[in-house]
Symmetry: none
Subunit: 222 residues, 2 copies
């Protein structure tokens, strides 16, 4: 079952942009445009299925910060979205119990990374990502192909998860290095190639992981 994410953002175009991207990444989204409506929604039975909420701080009806306790009551982790990049509201946001904080305008890719981290950390992560005949069991940190366990080394696993969370998006070697190895990594970009080769071999993904010449790699599905 798909992971549900509540998107509480009053700006309709931003809301749509976020939802579109989350849906593309395999989530199910519940867009809500104002604070009071959100508060009401949290009372309903459906709200139990929400795994995470993205909350704009500036909202009509009721502002994001004061909604925090409503979310805490039903145990939904929150990532704040805000245009303010001043330290004061940042501190206030995290202190008030948010799991993370994003300053607008932000990169969708960065948002996806943070979402995955929060879901992981709070144990609400997607349990599984499917690509063709292989399943990535995120909680178990394991991978199977047609039910048969495939042993991946840590880096290979991370690489696969990164590619799989960005299906059909071309990722450059630099991007992959930055996201998996960290910003501080100094070394050859060829390193990526070697790990890609391992994944292709172990999973028989020679066609699934496509090289985008002079650019990077893309995991294809559909």
């Amino acid at each position: 079952m798909k992971t549900k994410i509540l998107v509480l953002e009053d700006d309709n175009s931003i809301s749509q942009l976020i939802c579109m991207n989350l849906e593309a990444a395999g989530f199910l989204t519940i867009p809500i445009l104002d604070g009071l409506e959100a508060q009401a929604y949290l009372q309903t039975e459906q709200s139990k299925e929400i795994s995470l909420a993205l909350v704009d701080v500036m909202l009509p009806g009721k502002d994001g910060f004061s909604l925090m306790e409503d979310f805490q009551k039903v145990d939904i982790p929150v990532i704040y979205l805000t245009a303010k990049d001043d330290v004061i509201s940042k501190v206030q946001g995290l202190k008030s119990g948010a799991e993370d904080y994003m300053v607008k305008p932000f990169e969708i890719l960065e948002l996806l990374v943070r979402i995955e981290k929060v879901l992981e950390r709070t144990g609400r992560g997607r349990e599984m990502i499917q690509i063709h005949d292989v399943s990535i069991h995120l909680k178990e940190h394991s991978v199977t192909k047609n039910g048969v366990p495939i042993l991946l080394k840590p880096m290979e696993y991370e690489l696969l998860v990164t590619l799989a969370s960005n299906k059909n998006i071309a990722l450059s070697r630099e991007e992959l290095l930055q996201r998996i190895w960290g910003t501080d990594f100094i070394g050859e970009t060829r390193t990526v190639d070697v790990h890609i080769a391992q994944l292709r071999k172990k999973l028989d993904f020679h066609q699934v992981i496509r090289t985008v010449s002079k650019t990077g790699y893309r995991l294809e599905e559909l």
Copy 2:
């Protein structure tokens, strides 16, 4: 849906020139001639659909710099246009939160490049460019014709994207070389012809990519 760009420029002829070119490039433009009017427009519901604003610094009503916070409030990235090329206002412009800065008189082509970059950076980038029956999937770095994948080599892809981002605008061989191959490229301009030929063949664009004799090429639509 087409990307909407707000053009805030008091000189009517310049405004028209910019709008004409942006429309030709596939954007939808909202020309506004004075500062106060712009401020009012940002309060309206329609303004939510704006992806980017081009703002002249010298304006009647209210000047561009002081409008910055209005744009930030509704989270619209700004590129300043100005006749002043002195460092002081440049610094002031960027410091005040603009995404970029163009000094008049500027090349329309350069403006288009910067617009694309800002849209990309702020996550408002177009994901797809359509030309007749072919779709360029920018994130995937792939191209399909009637849904059928077409394999393009890196240079061909770049060339297509460049032409497609400048629909109906004739680009000279020199311009294409500079923009795709880089300023440091030393070699024949005939090189461009070869790649154009490949594109025409692979995409069946014999009529769509038109030769502008003694000048260069133009990708036509409508």
